[in-house]
Each structure stands twice: as C-alpha cells, then as structure tokens.
Subunit: 324 residues, 2 copies
Amino acid sequence: MARPAKWCGAEALQPVMADDAPDARAVSRYFKEMQARLCRQLEQFEPEARFGEDAWRHAHGGGMTRVIERGAVFERGGVNFSRVSGSALPPAATAKRTHLAGKPFQASGVSLVMHPRNPYVPCCHMNMRFFLAGAPGEEAVWWFGGGYDLTPCYAFDEDCIHWHQTAKRACDRFGPGHYARFKAWCDRYFHLKHRGETRGIGGLFFDDYREGGFARAFAFVREVGESFIDAYAPIVRRRCAMRYTERERLFQFYRRGRYVEFNLVLDRGTLFGLQSGGRTESILMSMPPVAHWKYDWRAEPGSDEARLVEHYLKPRDWLSAAKL
Amino acid sequence: MARPAKWCGAEALQPVMADDAPDARAVSRYFKEMQARLCRQLEQFEPEARFGEDAWRHAHGGGMTRVIERGAVFERGGVNFSRVSGSALPPAATAKRTHLAGKPFQASGVSLVMHPRNPYVPCCHMNMRFFLAGAPGEEAVWWFGGGYDLTPCYAFDEDCIHWHQTAKRACDRFGPGHYARFKAWCDRYFHLKHRGETRGIGGLFFDDYREGGFARAFAFVREVGESFIDAYAPIVRRRCAMRYTERERLFQFYRRGRYVEFNLVLDRGTLFGLQSGGRTESILMSMPPVAHWKYDWRAEPGSDEARLVEHYLKPRDWLSAAKL
C-alpha cells in the first residue's frame, strides 16, 4: 500500500517520493514529450505547413504553445503544453471540490484542438491534465483528468465507430467499466444545453482520476493519450481528399460557431485558464479560424446538414451499432 | 413619499399600484415601443434590408426578436424585446444581490446590437432592463439597468467625443454625478481582463438604479434610451461611405472575435439569458456574422490597427479631451 505523499520544506509543492507517491515532474515531462510526438504525427498530413514553437513564461508558470495555421489539411490548430502553479486553486477547479477551495496547487497539461479545412474532416480535441493541491505540511491531493472528443460537420457512422472502438480498446486494460463510464461522462460534459445538442459525437472524458494509485492512474492516462492518434489519423486520411463546395464550407463556418459557444460559455478548461490569469493566446488557440452566426438558421429537411443534428449530435451507443 | 409596492393574490407578480409604485406593465410597453422606433430609425440607413419580426413564446415568457441581415450598412444586427418571469432569479442576477437569491421575479428589457459592414462604422450596443423581484406578500424589490457602448475597429476622436457628449446630456438632468459614475461603470464593465483591453470606447452602464423613486428612475431610463439614436446615427452617417479594402475588413473580422469573447465569457445579460433558459437565438443575435481568430496576431507598429488598442481601448476622459 502506498504511503501518502508528504510535502517537504524546500520545494513546497513537490511531495517527497514514496513508493507510489505522485510524481508531478514525471507527468509534466511526459506531457511535453506527448506534445512533440503529436505535432510530428499531425505534420505528416501537411506538405508544407509546420507547427510553430512558442515558449512562454508567465506570472505563475510557463509552457510551450505550438500552433499551425493555413495548412493544406489543418486550417488552424494547436497543441499546448503548460505547467502552472498558484497559491489558490481558481473557482473553476474547485466548484465541485469545495474542500480544496483556496489551496495552493500545481498543474500541468497538454491539450490539442485541430480545425481542419475540409468540412468532411472532423474537428478534434484531446486534453490530459494533472493536478496536485494542498498546503505544505498537509497531505497532497492529486488527480488526473482528460479525454478526447470528435466534432464532425458531416459525419459518417464508420468514423464514429472507429473513434469509439479505439477509445474503448485504450480503456479496457484498466477496468471493464472504464469506457462506458468515461464515454457517458463525455456525452454529459460536451453538451450545449442552450442548443439541446452535444458538441460532437463524444469520446472519453474523465476527471478526479486516481484509481489504483498514482503509477496505475498515470499508466491509464498514457494509454489514452497514445490511442488518440490511432483514433484520429485514419479518419483524417479517409476524408481529407473529399470534394466539397461552398455549401459545405459555409455549413462548417456555421457549425464552428457552436464550437466557440461551447468553449467560451461552458468549457471548464478554458474558464480555469482565463480565471487563473493564464496566457490568453495559448488558451484561445482552441478557437476556430473563422466562425459564422446566422439568425435562427435551419437545415433543409432531409439534408446532410439536418442529419448531423438529428442523427449524430445526441448520445449514441456507437459500439452496439457496430455489432448490427 | 411613495408607499411600498405590495403583491396581490390574483397576479402574484404584479404589484398593486401606489403613488410611485413600480409599474412593470408600463415599462414593458415602453420597451416594446422603443424597439419599434429603433428599428424604424435604423432602417432609414438601408435601401432594401428590413428588420424581420419574430414573435416568440417560451417556458417563462415571450418576446419579439427583430434581426436584420445582409444589409447594405448593417451586415447583421438585432433589436430584441423580451418579458420573462420565473420562480427563482438565476445566479447571474443574484451574484451581487445575494439577498434576492431564489426569489420569484419578472423582468423585461430591450437590447440592441448592430454589426455594420463597413469597418469604419463602429459596432454599437444598447440595453435597458427592468426587474421586479420578491415573493407574494413581501415587499417588492425593483431596479432598472442599462446603458450603451460603442465598439469601433477604426476609431475617430470626434466620434468618441460626440458619443460621450450625447450620453452626458441625457444624464445631466438627473444628477450632476450621473454621467461620471455611469461612464466609469461602463469602462469597468466592458473590460476584457484576459486581453487587458476595454471592449470599445465605452459610454454608459448602470444597474440597481432606483434613484428618486420609480417615476423618476423610469424617466431617466427613457431619457437615456431616447438619446441613443442621437449618439449613434450621426456616426453611421459620417462613416458609412468611407472606402475600405480587404485589410480593414480582415481587421474587423479579427476584432469581432473580441466581441464574441466578451459576450460569451463576461456579459451578464448573455449569461442571465442562457442560464434562465432564455431563447438562445434571441440572446445570441448579439454575435457578429463573421469572426476570425489568429494566433498571437499583432498590429504593425504605428498603424491604425495598433492605434485602436493603444489610443482607444482604455478608459479615457473624452469630454476633457474635447475642451483642449
């Protein structure tokens, strides 16, 4: 059984290592490597465009923001790594953890959002994060959070099934209920109540994750993180040469408005970042390059555009569908 | 001295009229007339485009949304009237009025946002609202809120001075400190902390306004409401035929991203609407037709685009400037 992590004086927020004590440095190093790997993998789709490298330091931390713009496949996207600490957890992090309100913390994370140019290639999001909270002398509280979700404009059942099968495979080694729990949590989290729609076709979402102790929880996070590109890349390959017209492009701009609404009104990561005085340009790399709003627009009944909301933007059991 | 308003049984939220008791019906009727008048006045700029009329009813109220799109002068804009009631004030309305948390309420309001096509014509916003809160048998609490603010992409000192002079004239009859107080409040409210910028060049913002009793407070609101078109129309006339190129247009799209950020992250009216289960398309008529985001974009030093942030997007005393 793991000894509880204890704080030591010199590095107030770095717990003394115990058998299975949380190792914030190892996590942060891993997230940084993950960022580099993801950028290399995504750049393989691009004949010329490359992710920039923008290292930054800030009042409470630092990070590396890597953004790609005007690519052939990715119109805009970014992979962000950051490591921050502070003397008090901001409200977005303690709304559901009231016992931690005002505690000092350190956090690191990697997050990715890609907005492809072709309306047939779905937008994707992935995030992994680690928190360690508590005052010196107290027992440290730590948890992982993360997941990934897919937001198509024009969706295909086979893509949804592949996405969810890959997510499930990553989860299954860690517990038979993991996929079902985190898939359902994803559907609940990425829900635009004011629109009566999910953001996309879901995937995985978990938070407060510490099952089996630090080493095992960290292994789960790595497994999920590594499965992301296997979930996304085949869909990009399959769709990125599909022909489209102005009609599909305008629908994509319109749908990106919903993405903006979710991120700015509802997303806890975005609110946490903005509230904790994070670096705005890094946080808002998740914004699409172009978004449109039109008053009370409705898709033509029976069209592919209507099918998106009717068929895809609600919680569905994609893996049972696969068995039929 | 006015007798306090009391609730009566049959219409739980309608107070019995007293000398100076709040008259929610009269306010709501006035807001509806104001909406019609503003639409007529703004349509005078348009050779063809007209505001639509979209009456709606909803779980807790109803309203009329009037949107104009693809106009020659106004690319998108709307004037919304709504009247809602509910069994409990939503959090956005009680964050700073904790004694009213959970109280039944009725509210009516008119709000206007115009996004002109020409980047030299500033975007504008106006809002007037009235709240009446309290349970039957309790004394009713009522207040007005409102104001207007201007958001240019390319700004001109003479426009800013005219805008603020008009606002001050409307205030002066009601108290020597009104303009200074509500101008300062506007600067504080329309501030994007995460960008270190104000939304625009400000104007007026007031809330919890009940000075001098209901009749006088209502007269103030009418005076401010009526001054709005005198503040805005001359600026539109002066700027709407200015030539522009793609450069100005792209800057306008980029700046509209800030407008989206303010409205979705910070605006209490928007949050109140979305939290209270308001009609989403009416609330989000404030969104621009097109918005762009670019990573860490910076204006060329010394350019008009750089001048916007450096010279205009900070609180300034426009009326002292006018005297120089």
